[in-house]
């Protein structure tokens, strides 16, 4: 130890400081002179981005049924079964694909409170995508509460890591103005780049109560890919949500209704408001999936304006009676 100290002392004390004023000023001049060079080199880094985002195109997939509704087992088992009933994950995910799974991680609440998507549902979906050969399965949400608290306490961060998915906090620099139809109220709304630039988008909301839209389901869950002052989406929300859903065009919608929040949504916080229904609903038609999920609350599509608007907008069908629905009890 002492030898080491001696060595250090020899190193640190071996030279003399003999600066001349001329040398010093020369150094300053060189440093000042290098400013334009650095500026030129850094030019591209300093320039602002003018990129915009084009809408996603939905995959055309022929599923075995329009909607799979599985009830009764663990969140993992019913999720697995639901995807199976649609015809398997291979319909949606090819080898080497980059997949986005968008759960609801909006609130700093534990899974039991049914404010966020069940972490086991998310984990199972990631495992399925990975087994189909997905290269990267991204999970993110633009949270309402503090992001690190939401990610951690929802259990989703741990679930994603278990399944070797990729979870990251929203990076504000990655919001780009979306090219919505001209005249749309959503025109140039900032949309998260990763939500659009992916091979497969899987929307995984939790079904719960909401003060304004009565329920928050798959279409409302997509607000989590929006930036800007999101509260303003609430203004005339029933028209905006279908436009947003069209823009993102989720290839697959998996609604987690393992636990549903009946009152005081969307943030909840009281276990008395939570009902365990043990259900997962999966399909490619977001309107149909939302319509079916509404029935769990004793509501019909007609009670929820944005679902009706979604049908009118051509996103899907609210007709549960005519749809081919596979119901499975595990």
């Amino acid at each position: 130890m002492l030898k080491l100290f001696d060595a250090i002392s020899r190193l640190t004390g071996s030279q003399k400081a003999a600066t001349s004023r001329k040398d010093f000023l020369k150094g300053i001049a060189a440093a000042v002179g290098s400013v334009p060079v650095v500026k030129a080199l850094a030019g591209p880094l300093l320039a602002g981005s003018e990129e915009t985002l084009a809408p996603r195109v939905k995959k055309s997939v022929r599923t075995a049924c329009d909607l799979a509704v599985v009830k009764g087992g663990s969140p993992a088992a019913i999720t697995r079964k639901a995807i199976e009933a649609l015809g398997g994950i291979d319909l949606f995910v090819r080898k080497g694909d980059s997949v986005v799974i968008k759960p609801n991680i909006g609130w700093d609440r534990a899974p039991e409170y049914a404010a966020n998507t069940n972490p086991e549902v998310v984990e199972t979906l990631i495992r399925l995508c990975k087994s189909a050969g997905a290269k990267r399965v991204r999970v993110f949400d633009n949270t309402c509460n503090t992001a690190d608290m939401c990610y951690r306490n929802s259990g989703i961060a741990a679930a994603v890591k278990n399944a070797e998915g990729y979870i990251s906090y929203i990076n504000k620099a990655k919001f780009l103005p979306g090219r919505f139809p001209a005249g749309s109220e959503m025109e140039d709304w900032p949309i998260y780049r990763d939500a659009v630039e992916c091979d497969c988008f899987i929307n995984v909301p939790i079904a719960k109560h909401h003060g304004l839209t009565k329920l928050t389901l798959s279409m409302k869950n997509l607000m989590g890919v929006c930036g800007g002052m999101r509260g303003r989406i609430h203004w005339n929300i029933d028209k905006k949500l279908p436009e947003l859903t069209k823009f993102i065009s989720p290839d697959l919608t998996v609604i987690d209704a393992y636990r549903i929040l009946l009152r005081h949504g969307p943030s909840g916080g009281n276990l008395k408001d939570v009902k365990k229904t043990g259900t997962v609903i999966a399909g490619t038609d977001p309107v149909l999936a939302d319509s079916y999920a509404a029935s769990l609350f004793g509501l019909g599509p007609r009670d929820i304006d944005h679902i009706m608007q979604g049908e009118r907008y051509g996103l899907g069908s609210t007709d549960i009676a005519r749809a081919r629905i596979t119901k499975i009890a595990v």
Binding site: L2, K3, F5, D6, S9, T12, G13, S14, Q15, K16, A17, A18, T19, R21, D23, F24, G27, I28, A30, A31, V32, S34, V35, V37, V38, A42, L45, L46, A47, S49, D108, N145, T146, A147, D148, M149, R152, N153, Y166, S168, Y169, N171, A173, K174, R193, H210, G211, L212, M229, G231, R232, H234, W235, N236, I237, R263, H264, P266, S267, N270
Partner: protein
């Protein structure tokens, strides 16, 4: 090989560096989920000045008094070693003096330390003034406490700047290169491990930086200017230290060459070789650099004995005259011991200077290299830095809302030492230093800027990191019930009232499980609309409703102090819709 004073000096430097790194680490880790291995209040517990003054001002026995007593006992036992070995601000001043020594040498041709100045008594006067104020119940320790000054500057300036520079810089690179997977993975990893989700911004950061910078710059005029003349913590420690039996011993000095007097960073040594124990910070320079090889400088009273460098290696000694020894044995550039004198910017011996310049001159000396390297990096990266520096955002807040768990206002101001821990740890950047102009007595104490952040429902971190319990350490459940203020709707602005449009962002975000914001159905201009209202009993004033309210520039809902919120029972009369 025995432990020489040289080893002790290296140990001191290591100790100082570790202390700065440790405190920086503690402050950096002061964020959710508070996984740092040391509580952010730790350094304040080592600070008898802050602890005693706060206790007096508030007439309360803080737990920190125990550690404060230990520190005072230590100061009696071994003197102001805290100042020389541990104090992070002192360490920074030493580092700065060392780094700036080539510059100082250019402009100050002959710097010699004068006789110890009576101005050193100023720090006792300051300590006394703070003490008198404390007796009168006014807390002023926060203005001058060195630990607070360091922590505050780090939390409000260094951390946001470094964080912002890395974050913005990396994001520019990411954007320009199209988000390559490997770089983005690295960036996300860095955010999770190091940067955090977002870079905080603080109002009044400029003033806070100004105080810190002034203290640093003063050390260019005189080494450790702050510690010599102003530091009230140093004065506190000097009170017992001056009676310490652990003393510098110069009995064996025969030459009185004056070297020690000139190199003493604290200006504690007189021309007659006596010294002022209360000023000595035990840096041990005077022991290491004593040129008289027979002349022993040692701490000897209590049997502790630190031998000077060289006495081991040259037991016989070559000369009895210190001056001759210097010239003969310190050839240019080959004796390690010699250089100690030079990179402190103090010229010790004119003969020595001649000897130094007659030798082979290195192309670029170490300190020159370091100074010019740092200078070039700073100047050349100015354009990038300029892009990275967070823009001075909104102006300061005039809010008087206090953090959850804060003591009643007057007590709070007396206890709060403005260390900034609560503001650093606040995950939403809600807590901000209040302005000096608004109320000088309450300056820089934490207030809620509800346009920047909101109080996170499940968070109680500010109470956990407060070193003086000005913010009580509430459990999460207690904090959720603590009423910071009450939300009040402004019906001229709130959309469902003012324009009859649906909105309900406030109700959506309200974290109270039973919802402190409820909804009623109304008809405005022939349109059915859902109107929100507040249940004041349930509202804890977390202000997420105000932050997320989408009206601009004025918000449709504002959190007010309890006494200001005219508790209009508008909501109570109306039945909520389920």
């Amino acid at each position: 090989m025995a432990v020489t004073a040289k080893h002790m000096v290296l140990a001191r430097r290591a100790c100082q560096a570790l202390s700065v790194l440790l405190l920086s680490h503690i402050i950096w880790s002061t964020h959710y989920p508070l996984s740092g291995f040391i509580n952010p209040a730790f350094y304040f517990y080592m600070d008898p000045f802050a602890m005693i003054i706060t206790s007096i001002a508030e007439r309360v026995l803080l737990t920190g008094l125990i550690s404060a007593a230990v520190m005072l006992a230590l100061a009696y036992a071994i003197g102001r070693a805290f100042c020389g070995w541990i104090c992070p601000l002192g360490a920074l001043l030493d580092l700065l003096s060392w780094a700036a020594s080539p510059v100082r040498r250019l402009f100050l041709k002959k710097q010699r330390e004068p006789e110890p100045s009576r101005f050193r008594l100023a720090k006792y006067a300051l300590l006394f003034a703070v003490f008198v104020f404390a007796l009168a119940g006014v807390q002023t320790a926060w203005v001058l406490d060195p630990i607070t000054i360091f922590v505050r500057a780090f939390s409000f300036n260094v951390h946001p700047f470094v964080n912002g520079a890395i974050d913005t810089g990396l994001n520019r690179v990411l954007g320009a290169t199209g988000y390559p997977v490997w770089l983005e993975t690295f960036y996300d990893w860095l955010r999770e491990m190091f940067l955090g989700v977002s870079t905080p911004e603080f109002s009044h950061a400029g003033t806070i930086l100004g105080v810190f910078a002034a203290i640093l710059l003063l050390s260019l005029a005189r080494r450790r200017f702050w510690c010599r003349y102003l530091c009230p913590l140093g004065a506190t420690l000097a009170l017992p230290a001056r009676f310490s039996p652990f003393r510098r011993n110069t009995d064996r000095c025969t030459t009185h060459c004056g070297t020690c007097k000139n190199i003493c960073r604290m200006n504690a040594i007189r021309g007659d070789n006596s010294y002022i124990p209360g000023e000595c910070v035990l840096c041990l320079d005077c022991v290491v650099d004593c040129p008289g090889e027979k002349a022993t400088f040692s701490f000897s009273k209590k049997g502790v004995r630190v031998q000077p460098e060289g006495s081991e290696r040259n037991p016989g000694g070559q000369s009895t005259s210190g001056a001759i020894v210097i010239v003969s044995s310190h050839g240019p550039g080959n004796d390690a011991g010699d250089s100690y004198r030079h990179h402190r910017g103090v010229r010790v011996n004119p003969d020595l200077d001649k000897a130094r310049f007659s030798g082979k001159k290195p192309v670029l000396t170490r300190s020159q290299f370091i100074t010019s390297a740092i200078g070039s990096i700073v100047i050349a990266s100015a354009p990038l830095m300029g892009a990275a520096v967070p823009r001075p955002g909104r102006p300061g807040t005039a809010s008087r809302l206090r953090p959850p768990g804060a003591l009643p206002e007057e007590e709070f101001i007396r206890r709060c030492i403005r260390c900034g821990n609560c503001m650093k740890v606040c995950p939403t950047n809600l807590l901000q230093p209040s302005s000096i102009a608004d109320r000088p007595g309450a300056a820089w104490s934490p207030v809620l800027d509800t346009r920047r952040g909101y109080c996170e429902y499940g968070c109680n971190l500010c109470g956990q990191v407060c070193p003086t319990n000005a913010i009580l350490n509430l459990t999460v459940r207690q904090k959720q019930k603590f009423q910071i203020g009450i939300a009040v709707f402004d019906k001229k602005i709130c959309l469902p009232y003012a324009k009859g449009e649906n909105c309900l962002v406030c109700e959506e975000h309200c974290p109270v499980p039973e919802k402190a914001i409820r909804v009623k159905e109304a008809v405005v201009r022939g349109k059915r609309v859902l109107q929100p209202y507040v249940l004041p009993k349930l509202c804890n004033g977390c202000a997420i409703c105000e932050l997320k309210c989408p009206t601009e520039p004025d918000k449709g809902i504002i959190v007010k102090q309890k006494q200001d919120a005219s508790v209009a029972p508008a909501g109570d009369r109306i039945k909520p819709v389920s």
